[in-house]
Structures are given as structure tokens and as C-alpha cells.
Symmetry: C2
Subunit: 266 residues, 2 copies
């Protein structure tokens, strides 16, 4: 069982921030990443459609013999986790629960802000997960639909990114939150801009770190943790593997050697 | 034959600028619009994937008994027109040829700039269509990947839109082009910002107007033009018809009464 890989998927590139952290925390595990670049983005799409895309990917990854599925996409975690757990034979880890838990542990003043896609915000998945842990906390949400295209276009360190971020963060500053969840796997790439606008006192919760720890904890508990050998990294994209590899190399410090094309429903 | 509708499709909302113009120029024609909101955007995707999406839509529209197919999307016109013409039983009109023709007629100094998505620019469909008409013209291209999300998020009249447009237009200004093709159906929504940055002397070519005239011309020539009755408008979207209707109502002066959900490959 322990020789099997961990499957990881995202709507596109964003989940690579999680892949990188999983690889750091679980260096002996084989990881298979699927970026759904034919259907990216998920954040403006409906629950029904995002669930359909997610199930297609999960089915493909299951055929690769994975021991665990990690949803490295906040929108898919918010909209499709329940259905994926119902239909998959293996454990499925989403990114919302670990992020919410970390935010609850971190806040000092009881005020948490969530930045996310339109779909994640609309689902109220983060407020629900936070308030389930502590009903007295105060949660505000802000949809940031332009952040994903900014990251996908590598415009993260531009005056335009700063101006757009400033607009979105107005409500966060007003809320007096001391803890801000980066509720989309693309957003950590914007950390420098966000941190400089919010100031040092505000804690940014990056789900990549928390999720990787949660995955490790789960594997330990279930005695499925690989202890030796160097983990292999396999990457699939549903469209244009060449473009994906080029952009992924910008996002990741390590270069990905090959990206395989895998069309879904073709 | 003349009672049949004209099928119109786009990756999402952008093509509604063309639908509106078709409805104005051809008020007696029934129009069926398909917005592929489950797969939007097309502009960053490969030829193979965009062609696959386009063929699925064309097949569905053909089952609705259309007499002509209008590709109201520059990316799909640039990447999938040849394949659509091969596989469809009806005439297919793209948006590139009419736009190129108009630009060639318009330029006085022989310098034309094309603004488009990454995929449209990469295809070189506009330069090819322009240079075929007059090989002595000078054509520059600029990909503007953030324009579509700006329009889809209704951020068209913001300082961020202005800043992003200014960055993209630097190369256009440098090229001394007197004619600029808005080579994506989303871009006409940004006309006020673009016109104010480029100045009054520069002519913006909006494919909607030219394409509608081309469609009318074709129907006249083939004696398929409807002369009486009020044309009916039917709208399909591949995801979230409620969201589509809300956003479409912002883009169009007329309200769309109903948007039908039609999933492809589901």
C-alpha cells in the first residue's frame, strides 16, 4: 500500500504551491499532479460543473493507483469534497478544513478574513468550517476574481496587481481581522503584495503548509507513510503541456521534467 | 429555409456584443446564442482544445436546425474555423476575415495593430488575413490576457483597467499604427478606456459591426434573408444560466428573458 502515490489536483497551476509543500514535507512519497488547464478557472463556475470536472479527474487519478487524493484547489474543495468522498474508494483531503483550523488557532482578536474565488466565497465553506470550531468568531469574506488571472499571467509584482489588491483588501482592513486566509491556491504567489498592503501585524494563512501537515498526519495515523527513497513527481495537464511546463517552472523552484497531456471526456 | 435561425457562439459573454449587432442589423432573423461558460476562457488554451469545444457546440447548434453558424469569438475563429467548415453542413462565418478587411480599408498610414488573446496572437490569423489582402502593410500584435477577466468582472471603468490597458498599449503606440483591431469580442466593452488612451486619431475596428454586415451580405446573396417578423432570441449557456443572465443583462441593453442550461459532453 505504501508504494502507491498521492494524487493531487487543481484547476490549473495554483495547486503547484501545494505540490511543492507536499514534496517538502513528504519527500519520500510519489506524487501525481493533475492540472485541469482545459477547464481552468473553476472559481467563476457552478457547483455542478466544478463537481463534474473534479469527478472526472478523481476517476483518472484512481486508475493510476493512488492511496490518497488531495484537492489542491479551494473552489473544488468548497464545492465538490462531499461528492468526491462519496464516490472515491480512497481518502480525500480538502484544503478548507486545515486552513480553517489554522486560522482559528492563529487569531488573537477573534476576527478572521477569507480571500477566495467567487464560488468559494458564495459556498460559505470557510465561515462554516470556522464557526463549527468556534461560533463566537467573526468572519468576513472577500471575493478576489482578478487575482487568479494576475497570477496566471505572472503580473504579480506590478502596479496593477497592487492597485487591484488594494481595492479587494479595503473590506478586510475595515473588518479589523488579524488573520487572513489565502483561500485560493494561487494567492500565496501574491503574498509579498498582500503582506505589504496589510502590514506585519496581520497573519496570512497559507493552506499549502497546513494541508501538507494534515496529509502527513493522516498517512502516519494510517501507517501509509513512505519512509525511504526519493519521491517521484508525475505531472498531467488536460491542455497544452508545453505551456503548463513553462508556467510551472516559473512558479516552482524545481523544474518539472515532463508534463503529460491527459484529456478528459475527449 | 429562411425560417431557420442563425447560430452564434462564444466562449462566454463576449460574443453578446456580436449578438446585439446581429440583432440590430438582422432584426427579422431568429438567433440562437451559445455561451460556453463551463469552459471559458478560450484565449489561453490550445488549438486542439478550442477546436474540440467549438465542434461540440457546432454539433449542438446544428441539431437546432440553424442555417448559418457565426463564430462570435476571435480565438475560436483563429483556431477552429477550418475544422468547423470541414465538419459542418452549413456555412460558417468567422470574425477574423471581416475584421481584417475593415482594417485594411481603414488604415491610411499602412500600420495596423491587433489586440487579442494569447491564442489569437500566437495563431497569427490577423496578420495572415491582412497581409493576404495587402502584403505591404505593417502589422503588430499585442496579447492582452487580462482584458477578458476585467470585462467578465465588470471592472472596465476602473483605475486598474486603465493601468493594465496603458501597459498593453505601449507597444501599439510605439508602432505608430493608425488602426487598431479589437481582436476579441470582449474588448469593445473597454472601448472608452482604449480610445481615451490612444487618442482620437486612432481608429478602433470593432468586429461586431463588420461581422453583422458580412452575415447580412451572405444571406442576401444566398436568398436566405428574413424580411418580416420580429426575430426571436434564444440563449444557451453550458454553466450557471442564472449568473450568465445577470452578467448578460449588464452587457446588453435589452434584457434576455431566459438562459437555458445546455451541458456539453456531460
Amino acid at each position: 500500500m505504501t508504494k502507491k502515490a498521492i494524487g493531487v489536483f487543481d484547476s490549473g497551476l495554483g495547486g503547484l504551491t501545494i505540490l511543492k509543500e507536499l514534496h517538502r514535507v513528504l519527500p519520500h512519497e510519489n506524487l501525481i499532479y493533475f492540472g485541469d488547464t482545459a477547464n481552468v478557472p473553476y472559481g467563476s463556475k457552478s457547483k455542478q460543473t466544478v463537481t463534474r470536472f473534479s469527478l472526472d479527474i478523481a476517476r483518472f487519478l484512481e486508475t493510476q493507483g493512488i492511496k490518497m487524493l488531495v484537492i489542491a484547489c479551494n473552489t473544488a474543495s468548497a464545492l465538490a469534497l462531499t461528492e468526491l468522498r462519496k464516490q472515491c474508494q480512497i481518502p480525500v483531503l480538502g484544503v478548507i478544513e486545515p486552513g480553517a483550523q489554522k486560522a482559528v488557532q492563529t487569531t488573537r482578536n477573534g476576527r478572521i478574513a477569507v480571500l477566495g474565488t467567487e464560488a468559494t466565497v458564495k459556498s460559505r465553506a470557510y465561515p462554516k468550517a470556522i464557526l463549527k470550531r468556534n461560533a463566537r468568531l467573526h468572519v468576513v469574506q472577500q471575493a478576489c476574481p482578478l487575482f487568479v488571472p494576475l497570477v496566471e499571467e505572472s503580473w504579480t509584482n506590478t502596479p496593477a496587481a497592487r492597485l487591484i489588491a488594494k481595492t479587494y483588501l479595503a473590506s478586510v482592513r475595515q473588518s479589523k481581522a488579524d488573520t487572513v486566509i489565502l483561500g485560493c491556491t494561487h494567492y500565496p504567489v501574491l503574498k509579498p503584495v498582500l503582506a505589504s498592503l496589510l502590514g506585519k501585524r496581520i497573519h496570512l494563512v497559507d493552506s499549502a503548509e497546513v494541508l501538507a501537515q494534515a496529509a502527513k498526519h493522516f498517512l502516519q495515523q494510517h501507517k501509509q507513510l513512505e519512509q525511504t527513497g526519493r519521491g517521484k513527481l508525475t505531472v498531467y495537464a488536460s491542455d497544452d503541456p508545453v505551456r503548463f511546463k513553462r508556467m510551472a517552472s516559473c512558479l516552482l523552484a524545481d523544474k518539472i521534467s515532463t508534463v503529460h497531456l491527459k484529456k478528459l471526456n475527449a
